[in-house]
Every structure is written in C-alpha cells, then in structure tokens.
C-alpha cells in the first residue's frame, strides 16, 4: 500500500499553513486543522480537538466541525484508490481483500443518521477530576453515515461456527513499535447488527481525513471507541481480543451502569463500555446569558440515547419540583439525536436555572448525580443552565 504519511510529529510541515490558533470564549484555544474549521484544541499530538458548542446546534454536525480524536500520533493519509480492506481471521471461511470500488459495487449501500460520541465526552467536567483528555461537551456529533453493512461483508467472508468476536484495526499507528496498536473488537452479534456499517461518507461527502478516510466503522448506539477510523482489517475470531485497548482501557466497574453486555470481555470486576447512555445537551441559552425581561427566549438543545429512541425531554425551572415536557424536533432516526425546545418564562427578573432530563424508550432517564468511575465515562447527568433575566 502506498500512501502519504501525515505524521503529526513528522517533518512534512503539512500542518503549518492551516494553523490559526486563537483564544476562545472559555479561555480555550481554537485552532483549524487541515480540512477543518476552528475546533477546541485539547491536545495537538496525537490530535484531540472538540466541536465548539455553536457547532452542535445544527441537526447534522458539519464535517469540518466534527470532533477529532486519536490515541496514537502516526496518522497516514490513506489513498482511497489503492486502499484495501482485509477480511479474514481464524473464523473466516473465505478471506477477502476489498477495494472501495468492491464495497460500492458488490454490496448494498445504506445510509443512517447516528450520533458518534467519544466515551470520554465531558471527562473534563467530572468531579473529582480524572486523568485523560479533558473533553468538554464537544467530543460528539451527529451525522448521516453512508456505506455498507458490516454484516454483509463478514458473511461474504464466510462466518465459521464458533466465531466469537470481530477484531479490527485501522491505518493509524503508534510512534514507537512497542506501543500496542489500536486494535478493538466487537461481539459477533453487535458486528452482525444491521445498523453496524463500514462507511465512506458522512453528510453526503467523503469522510474527512481526520474522521477516518477512506472508510471507517460506524457502530450506532455504541461509544466512539468502537468506530475505527481508516479501517484496514477485519478478523473473525473464536476467542476474545486480549490487548491494552480491550483489557485495560475503555472499561467500567462491572455493576455501575446499564448497557449492552460484552460477555467475552467481561470480568467479575469490570466490563467494556458499550452503549451510549441517555443524555442531553443544552445549546441555548448560553450559560450566564442575560435575557431581557418580557422578551421571548427559548431553551433548546439535543437529546440522544443508545438507539432505543428519545421519548421525552422534561424541563424544570424551579429546582426540580415541577417538570414540563419540551417540544421534540423531527425524528432523524433512532440513533440520531433529537432536538428539543421550550419557551422560557422571562416575566420575572432575576436568576433562572433550567434543568433538562431526557428519557429513553428503554425506560432510562438522565440521573441527578454522576456515577464516579476512574476513566470519567458516562457523564449523562441532568443538564443545567443558569441565566439572568434583566
């Protein structure tokens, strides 16, 4: 495979011309990576950049505002014309090597809308603070993903009885040979779910380089750690993948949270993070906003879950005594987020705090309090915004 290496740490200087760093409203540094508009820089190398709140307002998050998250700093620019996807493993009867054209021409193309949310989204808001990339609210986005079903590709390779997991990796790599490659796995059942895709397009355009071009995995309802970028290899295997990224990272205390099971990766003490929990984000008004008394003002935002579907978003402006349901926006699909809005009563001057609690069709709702876990995952507590009416 011949490809141009874009090493963030490399000598090519490809990042130089596009760099425009400036201070954002919250003291954060905003910086435009190649192909992107200004994002909040959490780390430069490997690049971890999140979407500013304004970028989370549209129904679909623009590609050039979509968050960027890498574990390892070797990030090759893969040539879509020569890219091959290897499909094999111990439990594959007919190993394949597929080009992008093979995927286009020999499989059914499908499209779905889904939230891609990093497992560690909001880690920087955790109390007590925990180590890791200190994300705010923007390590997430909602997009239309177009590609083929992973199921169709795996079935073409012949799934041998006894297959347990699908192991997969991408073209990005570590700086040091001794660093474990970012390889992940899915339980076979999740890999065969009709919603799990190998996607080459988001929002009607080719995937941006920094979002996994030429093709990536899309695992709707599950957190971003499973959405492998720059996908190069799929393996059907009869045993659990044992590496740092499965056995040590991206794990939760065994009994702490709801969510799909991943039996082959569970221990008595811990389990891998799997599904996104029901959650919401207030996009307006902004924290600390001064709203004019008697003028119309609307509370609005997004609510999402694991794909069960949002059934309601309740709002309280009296500290949780009374709740009113917000109006839900159009349904973009069960894995997408759902817009909500509710007019605010601005008739009385003074401070106003609005609380938002989303409810899922699966019976769960956003909790009042954070469940601590050492990696800072699953911050889905009731969202609050404090403003002043003047």
């Amino acid at each position: 495979m011949k490809r141009r290496e874009l090493l963030l740490g490399g000598p090519a200087g490809l990042f130089m011309p596009a760099l425009t760093a400036r201070a954002g409203a919250g003291g954060e540094v905003l910086e435009a990576l190649p192909g992107k508009r200004a994002l909040i820089r959490r780390a430069f190398r490997p690049p971890n950049f999140e979407t500013p709140l304004a970028g989370l307002v549209p129904e679909f998050t623009p590609n050039d505002l979509f968050f960027v998250r890498y574990h390892l700093a070797g990030i090759p620019e893969v040539d879509a014309r020569t890219w091959r996807l290897s499909v094999g493993g111990t439990s594959a009867a007919h190993p394949l090597s597929l080009s992008l054209r093979d995927l286009h021409e020999n499989f059914t193309t499908v499209e779905l809308a889904a939230v891609n949310q990093c497992s560690g989204n909001r880690r920087g808001l955790f109390t007590p603070r925990v180590p890791g990339v200190q994300w705010g609210n923007g390590a997430m986005g909602n997009a239309r993903w177009r590609g083929v079903r992973l199921k169709d590709v795996l079935e073409r390779a012949g799934i041998v009885p006894g297959a347990l997991e699908v192991w997969y990796r991408g073209a990005d790599h570590a700086v040091l040979p001794a660093t474990p490659d970012f390889q992940k796995s899915l339980p076979l059942a999740r890999a065969l779910d009709e919603s799990t895709l190998i996607a080459w397009e988001m929002n009607g355009r080719a995937l941006p380089h920094l979002n996994g071009a030429p093709a990536r995995l899309v695992v709707p309802g599950w957190t971003g750690t499973y959405w492998m970028k720059h996908l190069t290899e799929l393996r059907l295997e009869p045993k659990p993948l044992e590496n740092f990224w499965m056995k040590a990272a991206y794990r939760l205390p065994a009994a702490a949270f709801p969510g799909d099971q991943f039996p082959s990766q569970q221990t008595p003490d811990s389990k891998p993070i799997t599904e996104i929990l029901v959650n919401s984000l207030i996009t307006a008004p902004l924290p600390g906003a001064r709203l004019r008394r008697g003028h119309a003002a609307t509370l609005s935002g997004k609510a999402w879950d694991n794909g069960a579907g949002i059934v309601g978003v309740a709002v309280s402006t009296d500290g949780g005594a009374q709740w009113r349901d917000a109006r839900l926006g159009r349904d973009l699909g069960r894995f997408a987020w759902r817009e909500f809005s509710l007019p605010l009563d601005t008739s009385r001057p003074g401070p106003l705090e609005a609380w938002v609690r989303a409810r899922s069709r699966d019976g769960t709702a956003q909790p009042d309090r954070l469940t601590f876990n050492p990696s800072g995952y699953h911050d889905n507590i009731v969202q609050k915004v404090r403003v002043t009416i003047v």
């Binding site: 495979m1 011949k2 290496e5 090493l7 963030l8 740490g9 490399g10 000598p11 090519a12 200087g13 490809l14 990042f15 130089m16 760099l19 760093a21 540094v29 820089r41 959490r42 780390a43 430069f44 190398r45 490997p46 700093a73 070797g74 090759p76 007590p128 603070r129 925990v130 180590p131 890791g132 990339v133 200190q134 790599h173 570590a174 700086v175 040091l176 040979p177 001794a178 660093t179 474990p180 740092f244 040590a248």
Partner: protein
C-alpha cells in the same frame, strides 16, 4: 506497506551529561513552556517522543504524585516508552512538584 518514520527519530539534541534525547516537536506544535524545576528537561524530552506536552498541564487538576506515578508506569509498561528507572523517578518527582493540583 511503508511508513515514513523520519519524524519519529528524536532530535538528537543530547543534553549535556544526561544523554537525554529531546522529543519530537512537530511543525506547528504549540510550545508548551513547562515550569522550571529539577527534571524539566528529561520530562519534556521523553514525554514529547510520543505526544505533545499540553497533556501535562491539562491533566494537572486530576493529578497527585500517585496519579503521575501510575501514568509514568503506564507509559513505560503498557506503551513501551523508552524511560529507564532513574528517568522515571526524575519525571515523577518533577510532575509531582509542578503539575499535581488534585485536591
């Protein structure tokens, strides 16, 4: 499959007496002025082999000495960072003295 690795070769700006090779500051990488203190050079040099240095101040609010100990151990044992024991001690001492703001 060919990977260009030129950028991975640590700049051989060996620090006098320590033999520490400075890490790879990449083009456009923000300069992160780490606080003055014993162990700053070895910390900056070795941590920057794999990642930019803003990971250090960004994580300070979540860190105490034990946290840094665990992190440096992870970098050595899990990620294969070429840090020997004496260097690890110096790095942990430096980070614990300057970037351990956990309360």
């Amino acid at each position: 499959m060919k990977h260009a690795v030129a950028g991975l070769i640590p700049c051989l700006l060996a620090l006098t007496g320590t033999g520490v090779a400075l890490g790879t500051a990449s083009p456009g990488e923000p300069v992160v002025p780490l606080k003055d203190g014993a162990g700053r050079a070895v910390t900056a040099g070795l941590c920057a082999v794999c990642h930019s240095l803003e990971y250090i101040p960004a994580n300070a609010p979540a860190m105490d000495r034990a946290g840094w100990q665990k992190t440096v151990q992870k970098m050595r044992e899990r990620f294969g960072a070429p840090i020997d024991e004496a260097q690890a001690r110096a790095i942990v001492d430096y980070l614990a003295a300057n970037y351990a703001d956990k309360r």
